[in-house]
Every structure is written in C-alpha cells, then in structure tokens.
C-alpha cells in the first residue's frame, strides 16, 4: 500500500511566493494546502490537520505570529511543527522561539526543503 504524502499548510499573502513554493513542494512529493492569510490559515489548520505549518510573518487579517500564538493555544493542534518564514527578521519572534524553525526570504529552495523535511522528521 502506497504511503500517504505528508501534508503541509502553506500560509502566505504574496500570490507569487505562495503559488511557486506550493508548486515546488508538490514536485518534491508533498501534499500542499494554501492560505492567503493567517485567519484562513487557522480555519484550514483546524479542518485539514496538516503535518506541518509553514507561515509567512507579515500578512493581512492575522499575521504569522498571531497565527502561531493561536496554534499554540489550541490543544487539538499540540505538537504541530511550525516553520516561520519572513523577508524581515522578526527579532521578537526569534528571541521567543515561537516557531520550531525560521527561514529568511528569499530562500534557496533546497535549504527550504531540508528545513521542511527536518521538521517532518524525515
């Protein structure tokens, strides 16, 4: 029986980055869901239960840090690994280590995929 591909929720407000990163992840064998902001991302997290959350920081409606805070406060999402990505280094986020990993945009895709696989335990 074939194994299910690991499921990633990608939350990013820039359509170019969202679609390109999703396409590359799919080409690497992952199943990807996409959300354009933190609010939609949280809804999808609760309904889809992905294996990994990859989220941008600066987004409308609910930013990346707010999304991560909501995830950490939600018992049903306990243990969900989170990779935070941003064009700006979120100093406070880095200090507080709110996410399990951080990658600066623009990123090298191979490096990004390594981080993704590491967080998925692969």
């Amino acid at each position: 029986m074939a194994t299910q591909p690991q499921h990633i929720l990608l939350v990013e407000d820039e359509p170019g980055t969202l679609n390109t990163t999703a396409m590359l992840l799919e080409m690497s064998g992952f199943r990807v869901s996409k959300a354009p902001n933190g609010r939609r991302g949280l809804d999808m997290l609760l309904s889809e239960r992905p294996d990994l959350l990859v989220t941008d920081y600066m987004m409308p409606h609910m930013d990346g840090l707010q999304l991560i805070a909501a995830v950490r406060a939600e018992p049903t999402l306990e243990g969900l690994p989170i990779l935070l990505m941003s064009a700006a280094l979120p100093a406070e986020a880095a200090r507080q280590q709110v996410a399990d990993g951080f990658i600066s945009k623009p990123f090298d895709y191979d490096e990004f995929e390594r981080r993704v696989r590491a967080l998925l335990g692969g």
Binding site: D13, M58, H61, A88, K105
Partner: protein, 484 residues
C-alpha cells in the same frame, strides 16, 4: 501623529521635495504618485516611510502586485535609509492581492481600515494602484473608491500615498478628488537621460511648479528644486563697499583697492592664457578665518597643486591646513541644479569666503535648457553673496586673437560685477599676454591695457602698453614715442 512643527506638515525626508512642497505633505491627505516603471515611485515611497518611522510613526505598506516583498526588501536593503530593524514592528508590508481578488475594492478598503488601525499607522502606502483600476468595472466605481479612501484617510488621521504607473491626466476624474498629484518621469535628450518630478496639484498649499530634476543613489531619491526658484533672495548689503585682495597687488591697484567683498569676478580669456593662474592667486589668500574653495571641472586636485607650485603657490599646503578645499567635478554628465547645490553645500559646510569656479563652461554645459542659465547663475551668485562669499569664475573665449567686438562673454557676464579680460596680442613676432578690466562694481577703475607674465614666482602685471596700438585686434604695431 508626530507633529512636524509649524503648519503641521508631514516632512518626507526626501531632500528637496519638502522645499518643492513648501514644507511637506499635509496630514490626512491622499496623494497620487504617478510614474512609469523604474521612475522611482517605490524608492520615494519607502524613503518617506522610513523617515516617518524614525520620527516615531508607524507605516502600513500594501502591495497589490504579484511582486514579492522579499525582493522589494532586497532592493531596498542597498539604500542607506532602509532600516531592517524597523520591519515589521514599525513598517508592515502586506499583500492586498487576495482581498482584491475575492472582495474587490471594498475588500481593499476594509483591509486598509482594519490593518492601519491594528498597526497604528499614520502613513499608508498603496503600491500598484493600476491593478485596482484594472479590476474595476467602470470609472465611476474607481472614483467611488478614491472618495471612500479620502474619507478613510480623514477618519484614520492618516496620510495615504497611492503609487501608480497608469498614465493619468488632469482630465482624469480622480485628479479632482485627491489632495495631491506628483509625477515622476524620465526624459531623454540625445544620449542624455534625466529624471524629474513635477507636482501637478497640491491642495491646501503653494508649491514650486514645473519640472525639478531628481537623482537616485544609494541614499535614495533627491529632488533638486530649480535653483532660481529657491535661492538667492536678498543680498548682504552690509558688505557693500568693503574690499578684499584679488591675490595680486598690481591687479588690486587696477581694481581701485581690490575686489568688492561679496562680488563676482569673471576672468575671460582664451585657452592657456592664465585664467586658472589668476584664480589660484585669488584662492591663495584664503585663511583660517576666510577659507577658500576651488570648484573645478577640468583639473584634479593633484594637477592643480602641481600647477600652483609651478607659479610659486603652495596649494597643497593650503589644502593640508584646511584653508582651501578643492572640489573637482569629474568629466561626466552633470545636472545643472545638482552642481549648484553641491557648490552651495560645500560653501555652507566649509564656511568658504573665497570661491573660484574654474571653468564656468562646465556649469553651462550641464544645462538641459540653456535659457535657464542666466537666471540660474543670478540665483547662484546671489546666494554665494548672501553667504559672504567673494567669487571668481574663469570662462574660456574661443578667440585666441581677434577684435574685442568678436568676443562672446557668455551668459555669466550679465551677473558678473567685475570682468577681467585676458588677451593675446602679437607684437614684434611674439605673442604677449594682456590684461585689462572691462567692469568693476561700484568703482572707478584703471581701464588701461597692461602686459602680464606668468613666472615661477606667479603672475606679474607689467606697465601700460604706451608704444603700441591695435592691441585688442590681436595684431598690434609699434607707435613711435611722441615728441615732447
């Protein structure tokens, strides 16, 4: 919103732009910044953003393009005004693409309202307004959006910049609705390309109309308001009557005791005759109390020092002592106003009281519109006078030999208060150098024509030519001494 002092202007932090805008933007205003791709809209807007942030404000930057913020920040990171530490705490970039796609213009208004309140933003930038225009179904819908945006700006007490590359005219309906309309553009003449900005509309304030050159460097955008519109108001009348040395005692004698303080002296002559040597004598009298500045186009500091040394002037020593600064303008394309501001800034920085502009032609050649030169130079010389500067300009005339009526004194002569004419004359099969005065401000002067020489001890002005005539034709002949 942090006040900017009198009149509660929102300073932009873009050098020169606030001068054009009589102090800056007005709070709560909606402004369109229009320009083709590459015109500098994004740089301008971000420069304003970081300036406001450093005044303690928060900024919301909404993009409607598919362009990535990371690429935007990569480009901005080369700019000196960019401060990564302010992102995202004070400058918050987000994409409105999804809201526009799903909820249209109302979605964008809701997004701006909610996010600007959440972030406490007093400046909002909407980058890519042409995407909104493409989304709407009618002009009426877009006008409605601009109207709502104006209301929102007033409610939020925020200033809004709308960046667009669509070509709008004054007949465009939204032109009447926004508070200001600024156009960034590039014009090409021959091989030369120039950037400029024009304020078409600025509600509630005066502004300096017309085109103003702009420059973009790693420091961001700089607007160069047309010098003649901003500088040179009023002369320092208190200086009238005082004299200072020209650097040559013999020339001081001809001038009636030196050049008037604060005056402008034009040294005219053909190539190689000694205009720069005269200027070096003038500048050699700089001191700690009255420093000098050489603003030149053709010779580097090193070459000028060597030339000065050859006539017994220790320019290198003067520069080392800080009494003289040499500001060489490399032989590249210049922007007229940029040269003017560079000169004035150097004067203000160093406190120079003697300025020698070696090669006024360098300034004239930088003018895209030569008809501006007389008013530009009038403003420049007046501003230098206001700074207490006594200035000397060298200007080359093409004629090596020839009648005086053939001479073109150039556009500078109108603003020169003293004119020194250097000529060659052929006499006894030998070229001789002549010096004469054509004009001296508020003074009688010795109009006699004298020979001068350039020696290793400097310029030596000799006696009046008494036994020759036809000197100014360039071909003199001996005249026998008159019987007594």
């Amino acid at each position: 919103m942090a006040p900017d002092g009198a009149g509660a202007r929102i300073t932009t932090g873009v050098p020169g732009l606030d001068t054009v805008l009589n102090g800056g933007l007005l709070p709560g205003g909606v402004y369109i910044v229009q320009g083709s791709p590459g015109a500098g809209k994004t740089i301008l807007a971000n420069q304003i953003c970081f300036h406001r942030v450093h005044r303690g404000e928060k900024v919301l930057y909404v993009t409607l393009l598919a362009e990535s913020h990371s690429r935007l920040m990569q480009h901005l990171s080369r700019m000196s005004f960019y401060d990564a530490d302010c992102i995202p705490s004070s400058v918050f970039y987000l994409s409105g693409y999804d809201d526009l796609e799903n909820e249209g213009l109302e979605g964008i208004l809701r997004l701006i309202n909610r996010e600007s309140q959440k972030r406490g933003a007093s400046l909002i930038v909407i980058d890519g307004v042409f995407v909104l225009e493409e989304t709407v179904h009618s002009e009426r819908e877009f006008r409605k959006f601009v109207n709502y945006l104006s209301t929102l700006a007033a409610l939020l007490k925020a200033t809004i910049l709308m960046l667009t590359n669509s070509k709008r005219t004054q007949a465009s309906p939204e032109y009447t609705m926004v508070d200001g309309w600024f156009e960034l553009a590039t014009s090409t003449e021959g091989y030369r390309s120039r950037r400029h900005v024009q304020v078409h509309k600025f509600r509630g304030s005066g502004f300096i109309a017309g085109l103003h050159n702009t420059e973009i460097s790693n420091d961001g955008m700089r607007v160069l308001p047309r010098l003649e519109m901003t500088e040179g108001i009023g002369a320092d009348e208190a200086e009238l009557g005082r004299r200072t040395t020209s650097g040559l005692e013999q020339l001081d004698g001809l001038l009636g005791g030196g050049v008037p303080v604060g005056s402008t002296t034009l040294v005219l002559g053909p190539t190689g005759i000694g205009k720069t040597s005269l200027g070096l004598h003038f500048i050699s009298r700089s001191s700690d109390e009255a420093p000098g500045l050489i603003f030149g186009f053709y010779e580097t500091q090193r070459r000028l020092e060597m030339r000065a040394k050859s006539i017994g002037i220790d320019l290198a020593g003067l520069t080392q002592q800080g009494r003289v600064e040499v500001l060489w303008q490399p032989p590249t394309e210049h922007v007229l106003d940029a040269l003017g501001y560079r000169l004035l800034e150097a004067v203000r920085r160093s406190g120079a009281k003697r300025v020698f502009v070696d090669g006024i032609g360098g300034i004239e050649q930088s003018a895209a519109y030569p008809q501006r030169i007389p008013s530009f130079l009038a403003a420049l010389t007046k501003e230098l006078r206001d700074e207490g500067v006594t200035s000397m300009y060298s200007a080359e005339v093409p004629q090596v030999l020839g009648h005086q009526s053939d001479l073109s004194f150039g556009r500078i002569s109108a603003v020169a208060e003293n004119i020194v004419l250097l000529r060659y004359v052929e006499l006894d099969s030998r070229l001789r150098r002549l010096i004469s005065l054509l004009k001296v401000r508020e003074s009688d002067f010795d109009a006699a024509i004298r020979e001068f020489e350039i020696t290793d001890q400097g310029v030596r002005v000799g006696q009046v030519f008494r036994h020759a005539e036809g000197l100014l034709t360039g071909h003199a002949h001996r005249q026998p001494p008159a019987d007594v």
